[in-house]
């Protein structure tokens, strides 16, 4: 005999409210270890950071007095405002240059035969196997006054005296672009995975030229990968510390290096914490832009 749902006693049927009240034990239990790690390793330190950013510091001495003065000073001082602008600009330039360098590589990897693809893919990301500190030191050697690049240019008679390629912003940009390229390439390769080769062939059969096919088929379909790569490179670039420290020669003041300098050299922890919070806000903004872009192209 078939029993209809309506024949069940009403009291036994779980209502929507009752279902909502059931505590999701299993999901919470599964999430608990990660939440605990996050709480200890991220939430609490960030909360402590925010707390310190509201403390008053005087001549390097930390006091218990709370103040919003650090934020007021940071946001009204032309020096720090220009530093924010310089950091964003440098991260933007590095991101664009990285994209321009990595996009052709990713496109080539997409079109190359599968036999070669794996080998070339490993070669593309192989710089990640070497520490960025080591690679940055490598750039110091290559770009220095007596480095390979300058020696070559002088030897070829193209320049009379060595160019200043390191200990300045140019050196930082060169170093960061090289260091971030594998990240960009990985994101772009993931983006190219969405690209069906037959679409480009169909466009060609309808008379579209190479440029038109790239502009109207390839690029739009790979944009999510571009957006992801740009987000990654922008965030990594704006938070980069080692490369600007080593290749900047103490001339390139960025938000990340400023946090270190204020905390470790100047001993101004409240200001360092304030700048850290500002960088977190910048990251949040970059993430919001990324979400918006991805939503639009999806």
């Amino acid at each position: 005999m078939a029993v209809s749902e309506t024949s069940l006693p009403l009291a036994d049927a779980p209502t929507a409210t009752a279902r909502a009240k059931v505590f999701p034990v299993v999901p919470v239990a599964l999430l608990a270890p990660m939440m605990l790690v996050n709480l200890i390793a991220f939430i609490l330190p960030v909360a402590q950071l925010v707390r310190i950013s509201f403390l008053e510091g005087s001549g390097g001495v930390l006091t218990d007095t709370t103040t919003i003065g650090n934020y007021v000073d940071f946001l009204t001082d032309a020096y720090y405002l220009s530093m924010i602008w310089n950091s964003v600009l440098l991260a933007f330039v590095v991101t664009v240059l990285t994209l321009l360098c990595a996009y052709p590589i990713a496109m080539f990897l997409h079109t190359v035969s599968p036999r070669w693809r794996n080998l070339l893919f490993v070669m593309t990301i192989s710089p990640l196997l070497v520490s960025s500190v080591v690679r940055t030191y490598g750039w110091m050697v290559l770009l220095g006054d007596q480095g390979l690049v300058n020696n070559m240019l002088v030897g070829m008679g193209l320049i009379a005296s060595p160019l200043r390629l390191v200990n300045n912003t140019l050196g930082v940009v060169i170093g960061l672009v090289e260091i971030l390229m594998p990240y960009m390439a990985l994101s772009l390769i993931a983006g190219f995975g969405r690209l069906d080769a037959s679409l480009s062939e169909a466009a060609a059969s309808l008379g579209a030229g190479r440029l038109s096919r790239f502009r109207r088929v390839t690029l739009p379909l790979t944009l999510p990968g571009v957006a992801l790569g740009c987000l990654l490179c922008f965030v990594l670039s704006i938070s980069s510390f080692i490369t600007p420290k080593l290749l900047g020669g103490g001339r390139v003041f960025l938000l990340a290096t400023e946090i270190y300098d204020q905390a470790v050299i100047q001993l101004e922890w409240p200001l360092a914490a304030t700048i850290s919070v500002a960088v977190l806000v910048l990251f949040g903004f970059a993430l919001a832009v990324y979400s918006n872009v991805v939503r639009r192209f999806d």
Partner: protein, 354 residues
């Protein structure tokens, strides 16, 4: 194999047990200080002889990058410190005292304090002076057949791109010292009145500077010829004179130099106060001071320390004439005006060299 006799087994067991008991009774203390050459030489010249004289106290040296790192660690471990004593800079020690991170040592427990020179005694039992160092010029011998004798060599345009001025993070204690010196070269001896003449002079020098953050350090880059001229400290400079077989040389310029004071403090809340006081007293003693001066060319703070003549000749502060030409710096006052001294470095001086 010959079987062990009962008596030899008992002897061995006794040794083991005695060793274990001694190990259990020994007090372990940790001293935090500068890593690298300082650490290597300090362990050999001071800690090892101390342990030989005090087998009941085991000292571990924990090396850190600089004095500010020590301060950061002390702040983070304020309630449960993992170090018991700290060797750092006098101006940072003032901050540590003001924040309650270090303990005031009962001076009756460190008799050697009475033999210390008066320079750097401002913090009393909170931070007795441990070593003195001199801020001076470093030069590459091959680039200077005639050694420079004046600070004005740093403004020599023929050295453009070959001068290194360490101003890590937009200026630290070395930057402060150079500001004081440049101020005098600019005609103003009192840095508490104004530092504008000094800042103007440094702005003039900035375009000649190769780097403000030398890697790995100024000493190495001058020794290997990447730069011709730099500023730095005598102790480390002498160490590199030996390491580079004389390619790097140091000079204490005629206009005078600035003395930097390293102090030693007992960390607050350490549970090993007695052992710490014993160690600090030993570190301030004439023997330890002389040993370390001979190992690393720091000037001893203990006036009774007897240093070999060959070593004295390489420590400017031990030469009465050069000692007299020291430029006076009030490091306590400097703590208060530190921000004002360093702000121009980040906003005017370094940007002028871009």
């Amino acid at each position: 194999m010959k079987p062990l006799s009962l008596s030899s087994t008992a002897f061995g067991a006794t040794l083991l047990v005695t060793g274990a008991i001694q190990g259990a009774n020994a007090t372990d203390i940790t001293v935090m200080g500068y890593r690298g050459a300082f650490q290597d030489n300090y362990v050999k010249a001071v800690i090892e002889p101390f342990q030989a004289a005090h087998p009941d106290i085991k000292v571990t040296f924990y090396g850190v990058q600089n004095a500010a790192t020590s301060l950061g660690l002390m702040r983070a471990q304020k309630d449960a410190p993992q170090t018991d004593a700290v060797i750092y800079d006098l101006s940072v020690a003032k901050i540590a005292r003001d924040e309650g991170l270090v303990r005031e040592i009962d001076l009756s427990r460190i008799p050697n304090y009475a033999s210390l020179s008066d320079v750097g005694k401002e913090l009393g039992g909170f931070a007795p002076p441990l070593t003195y160092d001199t801020y001076l010029m470093l030069y590459n011998k091959a680039a200077f057949p005639v050694p420079p004798t004046s600070w004005t060599a740093l403004w020599d345009k023929s050295q453009a791109g070959k001068i290194i001025i360490p101003a890590q993070g937009g200026g630290d204690i070395q930057a402060i010292a150079l500001t004081v010196i440049a101020n005098r070269l600019g005609g103003e001896d009192d840095y508490t009145k104004t530092i504008e003449p000094g800042v103007d002079k440094l702005v003039e020098m900035a375009p000649l500077v190769q780097t403000w953050e030398p890697k790995p350090d100024a000493y190495t880059l001058v020794a290997n010829g990447t730069a011709n001229l730099a500023v730095g400290y005598n102790a480390r400079g002498q160490y590199f004179v030996d390491q580079s077989e004389g390619r790097l040389q140091t000079v204490a310029p005629a206009e005078g130099t600035v003395t930097q004071v390293n102090v030693i403090s007992a960390v607050a809340n350490s549970k090993k106060q007695e052992a710490v006081d014993t160690f600090i007293d030993y570190a301030l003693g004439a023997e330890a001071q002389a040993n370390f001066a001979e190992a690393m060319y720091y000037a001893p703070t203990n006036t009774k320390a007897e240093v070999a003549d060959a070593v004295r000749g390489r420590i400017p502060l031990m030469d009465p004439e050069r000692r007299a030409s020291q430029i006076p710096v009030d490091w306590m006052r400097m703590g208060e005006i530190r921000d004002d001294m360093l702000k121009p470095w980040r906003r005017q001086i370094i940007p002028a060299g871009r």
